[in-house]
């Protein structure tokens, strides 16, 4: 069974090829990292997966079913949750209400939704802030809220878009713990991240792209030592210099 696969994904905006023929597969229960320099097409890939944009060509398979052409909310109902790189808190609602609204994806009564929300807030360490307005949270809290809101929809696969960007080193460590905890609870994770410490320690496998094209895939160690990846991150000069 294919749990989740991106097949020959291509997305162009007019003449600009943002993602060019990218394929990868995520196995159930794994943390799969997606890396690449700025502007390499990572977030575009996410936006194609949850159908904010229609694909130019290619296909996306979730649990043996093509999800191409579905609506964003249907993707969520199927079991793919996502967080946003630029956080989108429902500002004038309390933290609890943010997550409760999300929990209605699986339950219908307000009581059940509240229960799910409180449980998720407990899990993501936000319970103490539940009565605060979402817009009053600092960035670390907002990132957690993004995750909490996605978890409340009971996803099987969670797309995390730069969850650790802008966090302090301590918060990054907490984020690592949280992501592992989510994986251990049975949710597969596809994560975009720039912070190498995070992506290298938690990913089971990593897929690297540059200019919208695949340059490497493998275990963190393999990808970290791949010349194409080093070149993409550190430049051609650096790779040549190493040879001497």
């Amino acid at each position: 069974m294919t749990f989740f696969a991106v097949k020959n994904l291509t997305k162009s905006f007019g003449g600009l090829l943002a993602v060019n023929n990218v394929s990868f597969q995520v196995n159930e229960g794994e943390i799969f990292g997606l890396i690449g320099p700025n502007g390499s097409g990572k977030t575009t890939t996410f936006n194609c997966i949850n159908q904010f944009f229609p694909l130019t060509s290619g296909d996306i398979i979730f649990q043996d079913q093509s999800i191409k052409g579905m609506k964003t909310h249907q993707i969520c109902q199927l079991g793919i949750g996502r967080t946003f790189q630029v956080v989108k808190p429902l500002g004038r609602l309390s933290v609890l209400d943010n997550v409760t609204a999300s929990a209605f994806c699986r339950v219908n009564s307000i009581k059940e939704a509240r229960d799910v929300a409180e449980e998720v807030l407990e899990f993501t360490n936000l319970y103490g802030e539940k009565d605060k307005l979402a817009k009053s949270l600092p960035i670390g809290g907002r990132k957690r809220l993004e995750i909490a809101r996605a978890l409340a929809t009971r996803p099987k696969l969670l797309l995390l878009d730069e969850t650790a960007a802008g966090l302090t080193p301590t918060e990054v460590d907490e984020a690592i713990e949280l992501i592992k905890k989510i994986r251990d609870s049975g949710v597969s994770i596809l994560i975009i991240e720039h912070i190498m410490k995070l992506i290298m320690t938690i990913s089971d496998r990593i897929h690297a792209i540059n200019f919208g094209q695949t340059i490497a895939e493998g275990t963190p160690a393999e990808v970290a030592n791949n010349p194409a990846v080093i070149e993409a991150y550190l430049g051609e000069e650096y790779v040549k210099g190493q040879g001497h």
Partner: protein
């Protein structure tokens, strides 16, 4: 919360007793008009205040409701009271179409589309003379001479409307509406079919507004396109009632209706005959100033910013912790 329930209960009781004590049909009439505005304002608030889809065209649904009742009499010879049953549903049918067209747009573009929609319906009502009698309007004989039946009916409708919205806002629908208002993209990714729920908000809103329109026809006995499809007196007034009272609050539109109808009447009657006639022309300026004042100093309206207001007047009391 309990204190709030008690206040609402006492108010409701006073309003029930009011026409038995105050026999003046003028004041009874004023309250009926206020009740109509409570319904329209609350309906507008559900769509614009809670679901965040600001409508500049609520006259569409009010007018359609009113004309439904009127046309039942002129064309089918049926009592206009059937319009009370039908008006809300016809308004919903129209809303389905309006939503299909306008919800392709977001934010200010949606608002502009509804603004245009309102004008289109007014022009249709003016020009489709074989159905609507055009500018001649529709005149029917009201069923009751006494104001009392109208008073209690409009009171009941207003109360039912507020209660319905109160219940909706405590359900899944309510959570979905405010989520869409706060961030439509986030809402979609939370599994919310934003298009469907925006339409639900619009349909409920249109239903009650249409009901208010049908009641208006029954009560006033006369409508024409410039009255019930009016941009100024219906669509804009609905917005004023909402923002002056307080958007996204349950009782805000009720308070807004009292203030706005009160102001409108004060000006229409030139301060109850105390000021010279030309003063009555000044209401547009005063409405404009009021809106500027509300937006600058109490963006959440009278109900939303009640704590702020009460602090100004009862400085001591508000300090208690």
């Amino acid at each position: 919360m309990k204190k709030g329930n008690l206040t609402v209960g006492i108010f409701a009781l006073l309003l029930l007793l009011f026409p038995l004590v105050v026999r003046s049909s003028y004041y009874q009439h004023l309250l009926i008009i206020i009740f109509i505005w409570v319904i329209i304002g609350s309906s507008w608030n559900l769509l614009a205040g809670y679901a965040g889809q600001v409508s500049f065209g609520h006259a569409i649904f009010f007018g359609v409701g009113a004309y439904t009742a009127g046309i039942l009499v002129t064309k089918l010879g049926v009592s206009a009271w059937w319009g009370m049953l039908l008006g809300g549903f016809i308004a919903m049918a129209v809303a389905l179409f309006v939503g299909w067209v306008c919800f392709r747009l977001r934010g200010p573009y949606f608002a502009l589309a509804t603004l245009a929609g309102g004008e289109i319906f007014r022009l249709i009502a003016i020009n489709w003379e074989s159905l609507t009698e055009g500018m001649v309007g529709i005149l029917i004989i009201p069923t009751f001479k006494s104001k009392l039946p109208y008073y209690y009916l409009s009171f009941g409708l207003a109360a039912a409307c507020i209660l319905a919205i109160h219940l909706i806002m405590r359900s899944k629908w309510g959570y979905y509406f405010v989520s869409i208002r706060e961030d439509q993209d986030a809402a979609e990714s939370m599994g919310i079919n934003t298009n469907r729920y925006k339409n639900i908000a619009l349909l409920v809103s249109a239903f009650f507004t249409g009901l208010a329109g049908a009641f208006y026809m029954n009560y006033m006995g006369f409508i024409d396109p410039d009255v019930v499809f009016s941009l100024h007196y219906i669509s804009i007034m609905a917005i004023l009632v909402g923002i002056v009272g307080g958007v996204a609050t349950i009782m805000g539109p009720a308070v807004g209706a009292v203030v706005m109808v009160g102001l409108q009447e004060t000006f229409r009657s030139s301060f109850f005959g105390l000021a010279p006639q030309w003063v009555s022309e000044g209401h547009a300026i005063v409405f404009g100033l009021l809106v500027i004042f509300v937006i600058m100093f109490m963006a959440n309206g009278i109900v939303g910013d009640w704590n702020k207001i009460s602090r100004l007047f009862w400085r001591r009391k508000a300090v208690r912790t």
